[in-house]
């Protein structure tokens, strides 16, 4: 066998295996770095602070889970705070998804005066950081007397430009003939929307609902500015105020953070395909 042929056969036999091992190593390292902090959260939330910062640090869960949970309920009323979060997120999600889907439908399927302006505004809201609106919005809420109310948390961001755009893309692909034939049958426009059109784009609408819920569940800065009574706090706000205290109970804080993140993780586990396709709605344009 000539040298060149030998070298070729070696690369053929050897390289895929070495390449695979290398790729697998890279993927595993990436997964470990991504997910390790979550395991560590489980460990930390079942320990107390002195154990947490001990050397060597603990690698297995301890037995302080219940104790930390009781403590957390005592300091920030954790159950109440989680219920607040759930209520705000559900109301926001229902209203926002419907309003966004309807607007997306109008932009996709009707020609009307002001359409281009509306589309431009939607695109603009995607690019302008919402922090830019913080000061004027805050002043607006103050002059309406809405500070420390849930409508101030929910209303300003109900018209979700990401959702409008996502649904518009979905509706653009929807055949006009179907709408026309439903109209011939005498169905009103709203009825057509809810009974004919919306069920067909259920995957995209589902992605929007999941995405909207996650966004609101995570919302931090605006609720922090708007809510100032402790029993109205949402989970992120309550946890953040814990950080600011002079003595920080880290294990309790981590337990709270972990439990508050858990619903999102569950939703993501269950709906990951839809969630990703929802995010991709903006990337792969039809």
């Amino acid at each position: 066998m000539s040298q060149a042929a030998e070298a070729r056969s070696r690369t053929r036999g050897g390289r895929p295996r070495a390449g695979r091992a290398l790729a697998l190593l890279l993927l595993l390292a990436g997964a470990l770095i991504s997910a390790a902090p979550f395991y560590w959260m489980v460990v930390a939330s079942t320990r107390d602070d002195s154990e947490l910062f001990a050397s060597p640090p603990p690698f297995l869960p301890g037995g302080r889970f219940l104790h930390n949970l009781v403590e957390l309920e005592h300091t920030i009323g954790f159950g109440r705070v989680m219920l607040n979060s759930a209520g705000v997120a559900v109301v926001y999600t229902v209203l926002s998804s419907l309003i966004s889907a309807m607007c997306g439908y109008a932009l996709a399927k009707y020609r009307f005066r002001g359409r281009r302006l509306l589309l431009g505004a939607v695109l603009a809201t995607m690019m302008i950081p919402f922090q830019v609106l913080l000061v004027p919005l805050f002043q607006m809420m103050a002059s309406l007397g809405w500070v420390d109310t849930y409508q101030a948390v929910i209303l300003p961001f109900l018209a979700n430009s990401f959702g409008i755009f996502l649904m518009r893309q979905a509706f653009l692909a929807f055949p006009d003939e179907l709408i026309e034939s439903a109209r011939m049958d005498g169905a009103g426009d709203l009825r057509i929307f809810y009974r004919v059109v919306l069920p067909v784009v259920r995957p995209q609408f589902g992605a929007l609902v999941i995405f909207t819920f996650m966004t609101q569940w995570n919302a931090f800065l605006w609720p922090l500015l708007m809510l100032n009574t402790e029993d109205k706090y949402t989970a992120p706000v309550a946890l953040y105020t814990l950080i600011g205290q002079s003595h920080v109970d880290y294990s309790g804080l981590i337990l709270g953070s972990f439990l508050a993140t858990l619903p999102l993780m569950l939703i993501f586990f269950l709906f990951q395909k839809q969630f990703v396709s929802g995010l991709l709605g903006g990337a792969v344009k039809g």
């Binding site: 990436g30 902090p37 959260m41 950081p129 609106l133 950080i243 993780m265």
Partner: protein
């Protein structure tokens, strides 16, 4: 008005059998779009357009002893001479030039790995990679604060185990920047990888087979077959990451508060501080409008780029 006309044309109605349905049809056509778009449009006008324009007006004013006065471009001139504002812009530039390319590169590598046909448990990997992106912001900041704690934090303990000295992660300017860049990368790399993976999976298998039949090696396949089709998705990731960087606020707000000094301050964090800590609303409004202008310019350039690519 329409009502009047139809009342006046009452007698003529007998001559033409069908006018009321016609104008009603026109009215219906004009109004039904707005029954769908109306709520969103009203909300956008009230809670987006109005505060945005109010902010623009405010950027030409200053608040002195409780009296708001028109000061023209004074706030903008002040910004041009403000070292903190420039420091914030430089920090953003650093993240744009260093963190975004590194992250997209890493995400591409991971996506290619995940796309290998021999790989098992792909869903498990995808979940692991995506977890950081769905983590609650506060949880994320707490975890990083504790992991990066100077004395007793896990990262420093690990460094100590291999004989390296403690690092003052959140209090040294250089280290704080590194910590910020590292934590943003941790949070968003997997997210981009999963999106890139979805893009990769939309490339038909036959195309790889065709390339293989034509004798293309892995590198040629990558350059000639994969890259051209993945480009829109890569650009999508770059655009969203760039906009995310220009809007960077959450991460440094909770992790470092913009410090030490102004080492991790970003324009949006700065405008937040000016507005809500110094209550200097006019100046905050001016900063926000400059941020809007910068994002607008860069996004426009990137969308032009995508447009030229013919993929939009």
């Amino acid at each position: 008005m329409t009502k009047q006309r139809s009342a006046k044309s009452g007698p003529a109605r007998t001559a033409r059998p069908d006018p009321p349905p016609r104008w009603r049809e026109r009215w219906r056509r004009r109004c039904t779009p707005w029954t769908f778009a109306g709520p969103a449009a009203a909300l956008l006008a009230l809670f987006f357009a109005y505060p945005l324009l109010a902010g623009l007006y405010q950027s030409f004013t200053a608040d002195r002893d409780g009296v708001t006065t028109w000061v023209g471009l004074a706030q903008y001139r002040r910004m041009a001479a403000d070292p903190v504002f420039w420091a914030a812009l430089r920090n953003t530039g650093l993240i744009l030039l260093v963190q975004v390319p590194v992250m997209i590169g890493l995400a591409l590598l991971l996506a290619f790995g995940l796309n290998q046909s021999w790989l098992r448990l792909r869903a498990g990997f995808r979940i692991a990679y995506f977890l950081p992106a769905v983590t609650m912001l506060v949880a994320y900041s707490v975890v990083f604060r504790v992991l990066l704690k100077t004395d007793g934090g896990l990262v420093n303990q690990m460094l100590g185990a291999v004989g390296l000295p403690d690092v003052d992660w959140l209090n040294g300017p250089g280290w704080a920047r590194l910590a910020l860049i590292g934590s943003i990368t941790w949070r968003w790399t997997g997210y981009n990888a999963v999106i890139l993976l979805a893009g990769l999976q939309s490339i038909a298998r036959e195309q790889y087979e065709a390339a293989a039949i034509d004798g293309a090696g892995p590198l040629t396949t990558f350059v000639r077959v994969v890259m051209p089709q993945l480009r829109p998705v890569i650009l999508f990731c770059s655009v969203t990451s760039t906009i995310g960087t220009l809007q960077l606020f959450d991460e440094n707000y909770v992790l470092t508060g913009g410090g030490p000094g102004n080492a991790t301050t970003t324009p949006v964090l700065y405008l937040y501080k000016v507005g809500f800590e110094q209550l200097d609303f006019g100046y905050a409004a001016a900063i926000s409008w400059v941020v809007v202008a910068i994002i607008g310019l860069i996004s426009y350039a990137q969308f032009r780029f995508i447009g030229k690519d013919g993929s939009r």
